[in-house]
Symmetry: C2
Amino acid sequence: MKVTDRKLEILRHAARLFREKGYRAVSMRDLADALDIKASSLYNHIQSKEEILSSIILEVAEEYAKGMQRIQDENISSIDKLKKLITLHIQIASKNSNGMAIVQKDWMHLEEDLAYYKQLRRDYESKFHQIIEEGKANKELRSAHTETIAFNLLSTLNTLYLWIPKKSNLDVAQLKVELPLLLLSGIQED
Amino acid sequence: MKVTDRKLEILRHAARLFREKGYRAVSMRDLADALDIKASSLYNHIQSKEEILSSIILEVAEEYAKGMQRIQDENISSIDKLKKLITLHIQIASKNSNGMAIVQKDWMHLEEDLAYYKQLRRDYESKFHQIIEEGKANKELRSAHTETIAFNLLSTLNTLYLWIPKKSNLDVAQLKVELPLLLLSGIQED
DNA sequence: TATTTAGACTAACAATCGTTAGTTTTGTTA
DNA sequence: TAACAAAACTAACGATTGTTAGTCTAAATA
């Protein structure tokens, strides 16, 4: 599935607009205006508005899925897995904060790929829970409720897209140091 | 500004629909269907679609503003203020999780009240930061960056609406105990 | 019982939506 | 330069949008 330059440009503008105004509030004419062409010309490059949304969301979702799989397969402690997951979130949010925002806000407007997206998300959260459970079994983590721990971690990580664009690159580097400390010191067994 | 029963019923249904599908994806006909009337009949009770959104969002935002003011005026430690803020968020998210969801997702669709809402939000976050700063000055809190601490806390608190509806009432009681420990143990000076 | 009123209705409006068909322009390759 | 392909264009479609005007009905009030 080759993606041309022009199509990438469309996706990039769409991501920015969807993030600012929400998928349903951005018309094909709005998107076309941003590219300085007519709405009908978009259809030389894409099949439908929904295909745009789907491309943006699945790119992010699959990147998370791959990252999780890679980390899960490593032979390291649960704490180290959690640290790598935090880094994964920071990296994706840095590279593609518009995409992350759209995943969080507009996933429910998927149609054809809705079930697939939900499956990816369920898998991700399930593996996240699993790593925490392992950590508790290994006595690496204190025995608070897994759901509460996971909720706290994922809430913060899933909201990084709101915060990272405001920060300089230096601050992001700092974040990679500070955030694991902040998120893990409360649950880590010493 | 008296609000009739019927209007409350409309707002309740609207909140549920807006939360499920997003403000822009819910038509006045969708909302009318949920109430088993015609779309035009809604206008006997409300002025516009946007007025509905505004009512829902400002109710929540003003409740946060009042709660914050009350807590800030109390003569207690910074840690205790943070604990009370956590409780405030849990209470509002329990009572009105649809409203909270809409605030997070659809605030940008406000028009007339957009500036007012943004002001309320700025004030809230600014006071939140202030309390953390006080805690650091008092040596109650460790000296991580205020922004990082606030971001972590607010991310989790602002996402409670996703989590609380899945839990029973008992679990919410448990949450009021567990969440302060989890959120504050990482930053509290012993 | 007569009057008023709250709240539903039907019908329609102008605007905007995503999308399609058919055509023209533009730039590259033979 | 001729031929071709990519990518723009104009024009229009049927559906849906929020909203308004005017009307009817049923219940409350006088």
